[in-house]
């Protein structure tokens, strides 16, 4: 590695330089890299066990409040060390940086060595101890014929039209070695595969980083049959653009939800009871130039418009609620309710009333009438929907406190009354500002769509491809050498030759290949195998 330390005369500059050199060598050691990999694993283990704020913010809040998890005290400690957002924590980024630095420092000399190897390497000649697989043969051909045949045999083996082996023919006395054919292969593939595998991480990292900057993701709920939304920054309920994503990159198409189909296995005794069977949105898309088309969004089939992918994220029932105060309409709109397992919850906020009126809505989609009033089954299909309304009056605190669209802040509200509503029913409550009439006018469904733009996908795919191909090559390609060397003559004038092999990896496969090669060569030369112990007399090595 680089960074030589000058010998120890005590000058501050030298000390610093020496320390940097030591640090660099420590960082680039394989052992350090393995430790860093271990720490990456430890951090990932933490992220598996501790809920992550970017994924499940509500669970993190519950942990911090002490409602779930190990308790509020431990959770505070976890928050301090950044355990709730491991992949956003400085320590993770520092580790990632150190890993890539270490990888780079390791790869640069390896790439240089590999390039030198594939460009200039010649198979070395056989010396004592070079090989670890050997077979001896005897043939009636001359030594030159043996070496010619070996040359031809090795040259015949090709990969994608290229010769598999690098072959070198040496006459007697060259480098003090006997006459032989030396060959080597696996120079490109083994190390090349490993380098490809490691270099794919840079492609992956670049795709992720630039992807983060260029990407855009937005979410928006749309009610069946109601006006949809236009692809523009202001229309999204949740808008998450990358730093380099400009608002004028929106192409201004418009989405309307014509219909949404959802169904389940309704028979409670059937296998898989309650599982959804259908989850599909029929949408109309109108492009900015006025052309329009109809499309379908399903579970595994997003719709792509102008390079933006549209997915279904969630859905719920939308109740049209009309609220009148002494006959004056103060609210008439669809309210999107959210699935709370067994019922759907939503809220109406009517600041137009004097004082403010708020409604908490609990929708039970399948609640047929029973002898004791509506029977709440908890099933999600809207066969017999009923709405439980609690009506509040006072100050909604809009603009004063942090508000959720589906929840009322009841801290400054007073409960006016509770009642059940079927679709079409109206309830009346007496309020301080007059009679409040609440009408459950209509029931529809809404779908939450996600729109995403990810220009990094082809690059990620490339990284994945390089990673897989590199890995498979690095694990299964192997470097090996083979020598065919003439050992001498027997007393009856026949030629004695050896086929020697050496595998750097995958010894067992190399042995099989070696046996096949030796047998094929023996076929060319009409040679027969002789064991080392039974070498015919008169042979000289």
């Amino acid at each position: 590695m680089s960074g030589g330390v000058p010998d120890g005369s005590p000058s501050p500059a030298r000390f610093v330089w020496g320390s940097v050199g030591m640090g660099w060598r420590w960082l680039t050691r394989m052992r350090t890299a393995l430790w860093m990999l271990l720490w990456l694993g430890v951090l990932t283990a933490v992220a598996t066990v501790v809920p992550q704020a970017p994924n499940v913010p509500s669970t993190v809040e519950a942990w911090l409040a002490g409602e779930e998890g190990p308790g509020a005290g431990v959770s505070q400690l976890l928050l301090q060390v950044g355990a709730f957002d491991v992949y956003g924590a400085p320590i993770f980024l520092a580790l990632l940086l150190a890993l890539f630095l270490s990888l780079t420092a390791c790869l640069i000399p390896r790439i240089r060595a590999w390039v030198r190897l594939v460009r200039y390497s010649r198979p070395p000649l056989l010396r004592a101890g070079s090989g670890n697989i050997a077979a001896t043969y005897v043939t009636s051909r001359t030594p030159d014929e043996v070496l010619d045949a070996a040359d031809a045999q090795l040259a015949a083996s090709r990969v994608l039209g290229w010769p598999r082996w690098r072959v070198r023919r040496a006459e007697t006395g060259e480098e003090g070695a006997p006459a032989q054919v030396a060959a080597e292969t696996g120079l490109w593939s083994r190390e090349g595969g490993s380098l490809t595998f490691h270099l794919s991480f840079y492609v992956l990292l670049a795709a992720i980083v630039f992807g983060q900057l260029l990407t855009f993701e937005g979410q928006r709920g749309v009610i069946e049959g109601e006006p949809g939304f236009t692809d523009a920054a202001v229309s999204y309920w949740m808008y998450d653009p990358g730093r380099w994503f400009a608002e004028d990159e929106h192409t201004g198409w418009r989405l309307d939800l014509d219909g949404f189909a959802v169904d389940w296995i309704r028979d409670p005794l059937a296998p898989g009871a309650g599982q959804p069977t259908t989850f599909r949105s029929d949408v109309s898309i109108t492009r900015a130039d006025g052309t329009s088309f109809e499309g379908v969004v399903e579970g595994n089939r997003p719709l792509t418009v102008d390079g933006r992918k549209i997915h279904q994220l969630d859905w719920g029932y939308a109740t049209r609620m009309i609220v009148r105060e002494d006959g004056r309409v103060v609210h008439d709109a669809f309210v999107t309710t959210q699935d709370r397992t067994g019922f759907f919850a939503g809220a109406v906020k009517a600041p137009a009333a004097e004082p403010d009126v708020g409604l908490e809505l609990f929708l039970y989609p399948f609640a047929p009438d029973g002898p004791d009033g509506p029977r709440l089954t908890g099933a999600p299909w809207a066969e017999a929907p009923i709405l439980l309304v609690s009506q509040w009056t006072g100050d909604l605190q809009l603009g004063l406190t942090q508000q959720f669209i589906n929840e009322l802040d009841v801290s400054a509200l007073e409960l006016g009354g509770i009642g059940w509503l079927r679709p079409g029913d109206t309830l009346a409550f007496d309020g301080p500002g007059g009679t409040i009439e609440v009408e459950f006018a209509e029931l529809r469904r809404w779908v939450g769509f996600q729109v995403s733009y990810r220009p990094q996908l082809p690059w990620l795919l490339l990284a994945g491809g390089l990673l897989s191909v590199g890995l498979i090559t690095a694990l299964y390609a192997y470097r090996r050498r083979v020598w065919v060397v003439v050992d001498g003559e027997t007393k009856d004038g026949r030629t004695l030759y050896r086929v020697v092999g050496r595998a750097f990896q995958r010894q067992d496969v190399a042995e099989e290949e070696h046996a096949a090669l030796a047998a094929a060569l023996a076929g060319r030369l009409d040679a027969e195998r002789v064991d080392e112990e039974r070498v015919p007399e008169g042979a000289d090595a």
């Binding site: 393995l34 694993g41 598996t48 898989g272 595994n300 990620l460």
Partner: protein, 383 residues
């Protein structure tokens, strides 16, 4: 036949039919080892060879009934049985057993088949703990992406499991034999022929009496402390099986299941200890384990990439650090550590083996944790 009858048939085919075959095959194949004098090579006589043939026949019949179970289950629910944890784990056992038997056959190491069956029995039993009646599939899972993604990962887990068995056997054999048990070619290349007589029982083939054989076996076995092995296995298994104690309701049931799993693993470890003297050389075990882990790692990598591609298609994001994704990544890092440690020569032998054990614990723990404890996007009907 009606769907319900098919469902019943598939259950019977699984347990007791396949289970009994696997258990029987494991017992017979391991028993065959004790009849062979030259650890593995049936030089001592025809009896060991014959017993082994019976065991292999049992094992392959078990594989056939297992395949039959998968087919019938598929018919009963009109879909490929790759939809929930039971189905996944069952297929993992099938891949592990069929692949393992094929692998030891192709490497001419049939004496290892008994240990393969021991492992297959364990995974088969593990699946039984998660048994679910056949049922239809959620529409979100009904896509060829699932076959691609899930089968690669399940195959990877099966092969990782087989790799773990050989790593564990390596540790046992290494403990039993110590340094003196290493084959002559340890560390370097062997000289010609993968089947050299490298057994730890350095016996001349056919010349050692069975009585001496039994004595040597007992001496080797005694070098593995039984209590330490049992306690270690119990604690090691607890690193994974705590998930049941935490996640099941009531907790007593979960604790009972945890103890059952732990006890089974302890018994399996002690059985393996009993047969440890008949294992082939540590070099062979180490190399088999390494090849298996390398192959599984490729499956795991490609399967995870396929999962990211499916996630982009289905959820609109390719990677979101969902618990299961994080778990898959963690297992990947752990096995990358194992392979890397070996490849760069820093870590070999027992240390590499222990990293392999740790990686397998990580794999199984994240598999169970992400399914039972933490709710994430992957939590469909327990897959």
């Amino acid at each position: 036949m009606t769907q319900a009858e098919l469902a019943d048939l598939s259950r019977i085919l699984y347990s007791p039919v396949t289970l009994a075959h696997y258990v029987g095959a494991a017992v017979v194949l391991l028993g065959a080892l004790t009849q062979n004098v030259d650890g593995g090579k049936p030089a001592g006589g025809v009896r060991g060879l014959l017993t082994r043939r019976v065991g292999l026949a049992l094992a392959w019949t078990g594989v056939a009934t297992h395949v039959a179970h998968e087919v019938v289950r598929g018919l009963a629910q009109s879909r490929l049985p790759l939809g929930n944890m039971f189905e996944v784990t069952s297929l993992m056992a099938l891949v592990g057993v069929a692949g393992g038997l094929w692998y030891v056959r192709s490497r001419r190491r049939d004496e290892l088949a008994g240990f393969v069956m021991l492992c297959g029995t364990l995974v088969l039993g593990l699946a039984l703990l998660m048994y679910a009646e056949p049922g239809p599939l959620m529409p979100i899972l009904d896509t060829w992406w699932r076959h691609f993604h899930v089968s690669l990962l399940v195959g990877g887990m099966g092969v990782f499991a087989a790799g773990f068995v050989f790593i564990a056997l390596y540790l046992l054999a290494d403990t039993a034999r110590g340094e003196d048990g290493r084959g002559p070619g340890a560390g370097g290349g062997r000289v010609h022929g993968p089947d050299g007589p490298e057994s730890g029982l350095a016996a001349e083939p056919g010349s050692v009496a069975v009585a001496t054989e039994a004595l040597t076996a007992a001496a080797l076995r005694a070098r593995i402390p039984a209590v330490k092995l049992a306690v270690g296995t119990f604690l090691g298994t607890s690193l994974v099986s705590w998930v049941w104690a935490v996640s099941m309701d009531p907790t007593a049931d979960g604790v009972r299941r945890m103890l059952t799993v732990n006890a089974t693993m302890v018994v399996a470890a002690l059985v393996a200890r009993h047969f440890a003297p008949y294992l082939p050389s540590t070099d062979v075990l180490d190399s088999v384990a390494h090849r298996l882990v390398a192959f599984a790692f490729v499956l795991w990598t490609v399967g995870t990439i396929a999962g990211a591609m499916w996630a982009e298609q289905s959820w609109g994001r390719f990677w979101g650090w969902d618990p299961k994704e994080t778990g898959a990544f963690l297992a990947w890092v752990a096995y990358a550590g194992y392979l890397h440690g070996r490849a760069t020569r820093g870590v070999r032998g027992r240390r590499a083996a222990w990293i392999g054990v740790g990686a397998f614990v990580t794999l199984m723990a994240t598999y169970l944790v992400a399914n039972y404890v933490i709710v994430g996007l992957h939590s469909y009907a327990g897959l």
